[in-house]
């Protein structure tokens, strides 16, 4: 086996194990830090897939932004020093059953139909292609999502702000 393949499977195992910790850990702060490992692992997969821009975006937005938001949420809703506090859970058996059913369905999709690569691309930097696409074919989604972000901003600020003069 080549070194790159060994590394790939090592990252895969780490990613899946940390995703497992996110799912099974009863301490929320542990889940949050395991999520960090999962997200970085995904960035590594993007590198393997030749998606250099997305690997960087994954680190910057997911790890640098969303994960920080989530950790803020964990810290503000559970006092940080109180890491021994366990969170309540729904029935493990039922949840496992739900997960297993999903796994069976996906397993059928993946193993019972042929998924073979149909194009063979040489690896090359994607950033300029992405930039060109966003300003040509993907101009509309790009503009629309800015309105969406504006709306989300207005909404989130409204919800989070304190009102002095009410109730």
């Amino acid at each position: 086996m080549e070194a790159t393949q060994v590394l790939f499977w090592f990252i895969a195992v780490v990613t899946i194990l940390s995703a497992g910790i996110v799912a099974f850990s009863s301490k929320l702060i542990h889940s949050a830090f395991a999520l960090l490992a999962t997200l970085v692992g995904f960035a590594a997969f993007y590198v393997y897939l030749g998606a250099d821009f997305l690997a960087v975006a994954q680190i910057m937005i997911y790890v640098g932004g969303i994960l920080i938001l989530i950790i803020f949420g964990v810290m503000m809703t559970h006092r940080i020093y109180d890491t021994s506090k366990r969170t309540a859970h729904n029935s493990l058996i039922l949840s496992l059953l739900g997960g297993a059913a999903m796994a069976a369905i996906l397993g059928m999709i993946i193993f019972r139909s042929p998924w073979t690569a149909t194009v063979f691309k040489t690896l090359k930097p994607t950033t300029s292609m992405i930039g060109t696409s966003i300003l040509t074919n993907y101009l509309l989604p790009f503009e629309v999502i800015s309105v969406l972000l504006l709306g989300a901003l207005v909404g989130a600020v409204y919800l989070a702000r304190r009102e002095e003069d009410e109730e």
Partner: protein, 101 residues
């Protein structure tokens, strides 16, 4: 060379773990983490298909937009969670008994 199926299997496993997290956790922030797992597995699928199936890189572009959506969704969800916690001191989605069935 790593096969397309390897990526599909990894993303399927993470997706299933995400679904499980949503079913299993009661804490709102915990459920949000499950959602992030699901969205990441979606992105991995799109990017893997962009590499092996698509002649162009449409999948990567879709993934960029999904990352943006995930960020805005997380922001709104946390605004609601914090707003709730301020009044209530709990974010357990099943403990909310304000409404009776």
């Amino acid at each position: 060379m790593i096969q397309l199926e390897s990526y599909l299997i990894i993303s399927a496993i993470v997706f299933v773990l995400g679904i499980f997290t949503i079913l299993y956790k009661k804490n709102a922030v915990g459920i949000l983490m499950g959602v992030e797992l699901i969205l990441n597995s979606v992105n991995l699928n799109f990017i893997a298909f962009a590499r092996y199936i698509d002649t162009y890189i449409n999948g990567q572009l879709v993934a960029i937009f999904i990352i943006i959506l995930a960020a805005s969704e997380a922001a709104v969800a946390l605004a609601i969670i914090l707003n709730m916690y301020r009044d209530r001191r709990s974010v357990d989605v099943t403990k909310m008994d304000e409404m009776k069935n």
